[in-house]
């Protein structure tokens, strides 16, 4: 049972090397947007599941978020078994952390959770809009290419995105040509 002098809040527990991560910021933003108070918890468990579970036990809202190795995010609930969290996912985009956190808030509020989108919604952009975006993106990625990359994983990622971008670009140009 949580401490009754504490404000009811969702507890966030993170592994040590994520303490200053951007993903953690986004988890906080997600809860803030939904208007749910949150509190950081000190990390003392051996794995992410028990970390999340402990945080959920301590929370007066019965809900916790945990972030750890491989960008894995868990939503846990006090009454669930430690190894069966309400939700878990390894994420690769920051905004996904925000969506997951708002789902934790939704668990508190009792409203249906959102799907985790893979990409920021780009709906309703016309073909030419997308082309301009892609052009911008290409020039940006060219710039970043010149800078030194910190991790090899990022480099592969960038490369792959560039390949995909070129491919989509070509396809879209074909479509536009055909339309005209």
């Amino acid at each position: 049972m949580g401490d009754h002098r504490e404000k009811p809040s969702v507890y966030i527990a993170v592994e040590d090397n994520y303490k200053n991560s951007v993903l953690l910021d986004y988890l906080c933003y997600g809860l803030e947007e939904e208007g749910i108070p949150f509190k950081m918890m000190d990390n003392s468990a051996e794995n992410l599941y028990s970390l999340a579970h402990q945080a959920a036990q301590a929370s007066r809202l019965n809900v916790s978020l945990a972030l750890g190795e491989n960008n894995r995010v868990l939503i846990h609930h006090k009454k669930l078994e430690p190894d069966q969290p309400f939700f878990e996912k390894e994420i690769n985009k920051e905004f996904q952390a925000k969506v997951i956190a708002s789902n934790a808030a939704r668990l508190v509020k009792g409203i249906p959770i959102k799907d985790i989108p893979l990409e920021v919604d780009n709906k309703n952009k016309s073909v030419s809009d997308i082309l301009t975006d892609l052009d911008n993106f290409q020039s940006i990625s060219k710039e970043t290419e010149n800078k030194k990359m910190s991790s090899s994983a990022k480099e592969i990622d960038e490369k792959r995105i560039k390949e995909l971008t070129n491919y989509i670009c070509k396809k879209l140009k074909d479509i536009e040509k055909n339309n005209i």
Partner: protein, 613 residues
Amino acid sequence: MEYIVGVDVGNSTTEVAVGKVNKEEENIEFITDGIYKTTGFKGTVDNIEGIINSLDSALEKVDLKYGDLDLIRINEATPVIGDVAMETITETVITESTMIGHDPWTPGGIGLGVGYTTRIEDVSDCRPGDELIIIIPGDVDFADAAVLINKAVESGIKVNGAVVQKDDAVLIVNRLNENIPVIDEVKYINKIPLNKKAAVEVARPGGTINKLSDPYGIATIFELNSEDTKHIFPVARSLIGNRSAVVIRTPEGDVEERKIPAGKLVIFGDKGKSEISVDSGAEKIMDSLEKIQPVKDVKGESGTNVGGMLDRVKETMSQVTDQNLSEIMIKDILAVNTFVPQKVKGGLAEEHAMENAVGLAAMVKTSQLPMQKIADKLQQKTGVKVVIAGVEANMAIRGALTTPGTDKPFVILDMGGGSTDAAMVTTKNQVYSTHLAGAGDMVSLLINIELGIDDLKLAELIKKYPLAKVESIFHIRHEDGSVKFFDKPLASKLFGRVVILTDTDMVPIPTKHSLDKISQVRREAKNDVFVRNSERALKRIIPTGNIRDIDFVVMVGGSAIDFEIPTLISNRLSEFGVVAGRGNIRAIMGPRNAVATGLVLSYLDTEGSVKDG
């Protein structure tokens, strides 16, 4: 001793009853029954597969073979099929972007703000004293946006509200020095016209806006004259009940509710014909239909949904019966007023407006179905003698009378998928029957369109099973408010959702509709179709036309199994002093197997013995 089989091929199921007949004692003992999905359209040779399956399942239970059977009696099926369609008759169009009336889950701030729309990157060009509504596209970080707004306010610019593309409203408001209303999740933010006067309103949590949802509220803000106020009325109306909204006034901007020309129906009767356009609504259509009874044929204007649907029904029937298209007549239609949520054309946040629509069910009847072909084929396949016996209505009455507690004069309501059939038998054994358009399929259609779920299978499930709300990971609340707890946690995708409780599973309904709304739509659809049809049917078949002149109504058929349709009808008919309830054929079968049972029972009085003949 003989084994007699009754086979009833219905629109959706094929039912079988097997009886052991002791001729000397004029005694029939029912020993088994079977049910299987009807294969192909009723009345076609494709039905054989369903009949065989149904028969096999019955025989399996008592370990009999085809060779033990003496006679198969197959019903003279009424050649009736039905179909449903929908026609939207109004549409809301926003010419130029003038309003954003959507309900994001979490708008920010409280109050009403009025100013000129300005993109956040252009704020630096503004002068102190300017009144602004700031537009914040998705690529601007919320923290940066907040800093920019705070700076602008410090320099004397009046920022009165903001519109945000991402789900960031609360985050931005929390970082501002002053409270302003902020609306977020506006998908098509690039379409918002700039440098136009706009108003943003956000109500407190749990409240609804009251300035922008009122025509005079908008008129006050935008200083409109009486003529313009008339034009913005649809805007105000469409914003009622929202927690937040934006209205932008452009000189040419307009929101219109248009009537879509929806095509005409021409109803032909003995006394002449009547022409009525679908957009005049369901009541008028049904009125003119009743005036012109009995209906000979109904035609729809070609090129419209209604025309297409009526043609499709006729075509199907003509193929099934091998008759000329011109000989196929539509004998009844049922029109129901409904609402369809449709995306507003020109909207900026995927707003929906509830548009008026008319749902239509149609029913065709021809002189005869090619039942003899089926009988011949069945005889060939089973090696058992097959005869076509009895009119469907008579057989159904015969079977339904085995329900304990019934007596003549008496009416059966056979509620299936495609049509609602009724038959009445008087004390003198006179039988009257009628067939009406509209049944189970029509209910599914209405549920599907009114909830905007665009999934007929799901609509079918909503029709068939009760609902519950998943309130926590360990409990659900039923429609009646009672709570059920579970030992194991429920799946996270079910959490907070309204679910359908099927026999084996919980199916989530992926909409924002509340449980009450869904169950209300479901009940209204059943009322609109079945309760209305039961009244229509009774008025037609009772010779005096007065529902009070009968005592008993027995409901049979697939839709009579439904968990609430019989109660709805029973409630309505009790107002006329009629005892109405779900049939219980042979005291054990429930509302199923009436015709098959009747076919076996009627063997003794009409046919005599096969072996004699």
